[in-house]
């Protein structure tokens, strides 16, 4: 398995505020990696630096190609699907239109892709013409995920997929993420507040602290070190 994504020495800023300072990380093909840390540590910004929705500097390579100067439209074409926090769906459009947009950068049969997506989210079929904004929070998060799957990404960037959802729904979403990774071989970079669930899903994790990588290691290592667990992961 080769390296799919490499970040090294990445800085990012919002106006005057520097959000990332020399962040470096890697994601192998077919791997699930978690980014953990407190609020404001730069987790979301790391994802945004990859997809090109924040001003950044440094080396960002996807399968050996630099994406450090590319905007989100181009990054999407190279196979990165970014599901942003909260509003991952077009709530004004229907479920089916959301899915069609997921496949926007791809050519080929929508029907074939949809059949594949419906294996993970069988309930979508019956709700195709429903307006996305009228779905429940959990359903909207799943729709955002389904839309990303329509894109057939090599790398899936997920920002807080569990935010504001009931535990049962969270469990279902994480089950689907693992299944996607397992069956499609999609690499996943996962940002989460919920450290315990993330460490159970991911093989490796990075812990960010005020815009820097404070710790990195396999999930087992991080979970087994009590000091890290207590001060950074909060459980």
């Amino acid at each position: 398995m080769g390296v799919l994504l490499t970040l090294s020495d990445v800085d990012a800023r919002y106006g005057q505020v520097q959000a990332l300072r020399g962040v470096g990380l890697t994601v192998d093909e077919g791997e699930i990696v978690a980014i953990l840390g407190a609020n404001g540590a730069g987790k979301t910004t790391t994802l945004r630096a990859i997809s090109g929705t924040v001003r950044r500097r440094g080396t960002i390579e996807l399968a050996g190609r630099s994406v450090a100067r590319k905007g989100p439209e181009a990054t999407a074409r190279l196979g990165v699907a970014h599901v942003p926090e909260g509003r991952g769906t077009f709530s004004e459009l229907t479920v089916w239109e959301n899915l069609r947009l997921g496949a926007y950068v791809r050519r080929g049969s929508l029907r074939e892709d949809f059949r594949r997506v419906a294996e993970y989210f069988p309930w979508l079929e019956a709700r195709r013409s429903q307006q996305a904004g009228t779905l429940s929070g959990g359903e909207q998060q799943m729709l955002a995920l389904a839309r990303a799957v329509m894109q057939r990404p090599r790398l899936l960037l997920l920002d807080e997929p569990s935010l504001g959802l009931a535990p049962l729904v969270v469990a279902e979403i994480f089950r689907i993420i693992r299944e996607l990774n397992d069956r499609e071989g999609t690499a996943v970079l996962l940002v989460e507040q919920n450290a315990r669930t993330s460490l159970m899903t991911a093989s490796r994790a990075y812990v960010l602290e005020v815009g820097r990588v404070a710790f990195e290691g396999t999930s087992d290592e991080l979970a087994s070190q009590d000091a890290i667990r207590r001060s950074y992961l909060g459980y």
Partner: protein, 335 residues
């Protein structure tokens, strides 16, 4: 019928009001027009020619809505651009093309023109300034385009060949002009084609996504800035349709200021419809077209000079009763 209405409300850019008042009022107006037309042939004729005027306003109003929805800019140059493209059609016919080939070429030229105008004149301004700056740029564009029409083709009135031989149909004592009927038909067709485009094509869907959520649209790979240029192109095509229909109408003369008044009616129609709703703009335009025509022929003191103020009074009344327009959604802003 109710199923159709429900489908429209869900799928179109049809922002339903929660109250039943607007639909009820529209049904009332429709009943009034039908009953009136059955009782009086003059009333029927005036209603039809009002609908024809309304069709012209509707095409231009939908063009305004199209751009407003994407960028919240009112394109005051829409009328001038329409005039320009109408002159292009006139020029093509003067060079010997017959009407329909010239019509088709003009639509293509209009698309390219609208696309370029966004790219060259609006995008740089909007990137550095705000929507207000872009609106001011549009007003500047209005003056520039209208001036260049006069400069290129002169300020004398030109004669535009008619697309259809003039003909009057007589149905049960009511005379319908073929001109009016075809104007209604063409404007309905233009709006319908546009709706199908937005509903069923990939680019149409991407344009809607870019309008409602530009950031999310970029993340799925939609090139949002191209979609905006594309929207200006489509708006210019609708404007060209409106301009050519207006020039064919016996009451409008082909001159540089041809669309000035029509733009104001279209603007009033778009505001009445709620500015964000294409269906609302069409209904608003038809209402204004019919109302002005009926007032002009039945109320003796409403002279042609008074029609413009009357349109504004209608707009004002609608906004006083329902500030978001007939089909506008009420904006909730979280602080």
């Amino acid at each position: 019928m109710t199923a159709v209405v429900a489908a429209l409300e869900r799928r179109l850019w049809f922002r339903p009001s929660t109250s039943w008042i607007v639909p009820a009022a529209l049904v009332g107006v429709a009943v009034f027009l039908v009953v009136g037309s059955l009782r009086s042939s003059l009333f029927a004729q005036q209603t039809i020619s009002g609908l024809a005027n309304g069709g012209i306003y509707a095409s231009l109003a939908v063009a305004l809505v199209l751009i407003y929805r994407a960028t919240e800019v009112i394109n005051f140059a829409q009328g001038a651009l329409a005039t320009f493209t109408t002159y292009v059609a006139w020029q093509l016919m003067a060079w010997g093309l017959s009407y329909w080939p010239a019509f088709a070429c003009t639509l293509g030229i209009a698309f390219a023109g609208g696309f370029l105008v966004e790219l060259v004149a609006i995008r740089p301004v909007e990137r550095r300034g705000s929507q207000i700056t872009a609106v001011i740029a549009a007003i500047g564009l209005l003056i520039l385009v209208e001036g260049s029409v006069g400069w290129i083709w002169g300020n004398q009135v030109k004669f535009m060949p008619a697309p259809f031989p003039s003909h009057i149909y007589n149905v049960g004592g009511v005379a319908f002009s073929r001109q009016d009927l075809s104007t209604i038909g063409i404007s309905i067709a233009a709006v319908l084609v546009l709706w199908l485009f937005f509903r069923f094509t990939k680019v149409g869907l991407a344009m809607r996504a870019a309008a409602v959520r530009p950031q999310a649209a970029r993340l799925v790979g939609v090139r949002v800035s191209w979609m905006l240029s594309f929207g200006w192109g489509l708006a210019a095509v609708l404007g060209a349709v409106a301009g050519m229909m207006a020039a064919a109408s016996p009451s409008v003369l082909l001159q540089p200021s041809m669309m000035d008044g029509i733009l104001i009616y279209a603007f009033a129609a778009a505001v009445v419809g709620g500015l964000e709703s294409a269906a609302g703009a069409v209904i608003g335009a038809l209402l204004i077209g019919v109302l002005l025509n009926l007032l002009g022929s039945y109320v003796s003191w409403v002279t042609p000079q008074l029609l413009l103020p009357v349109a504004f009074v209608v707009m004002l009344i609608v906004l006083l009763v329902k500030p978001s327009g007939l089909f506008g959604r009420t904006r909730v802003r979280r602080v």
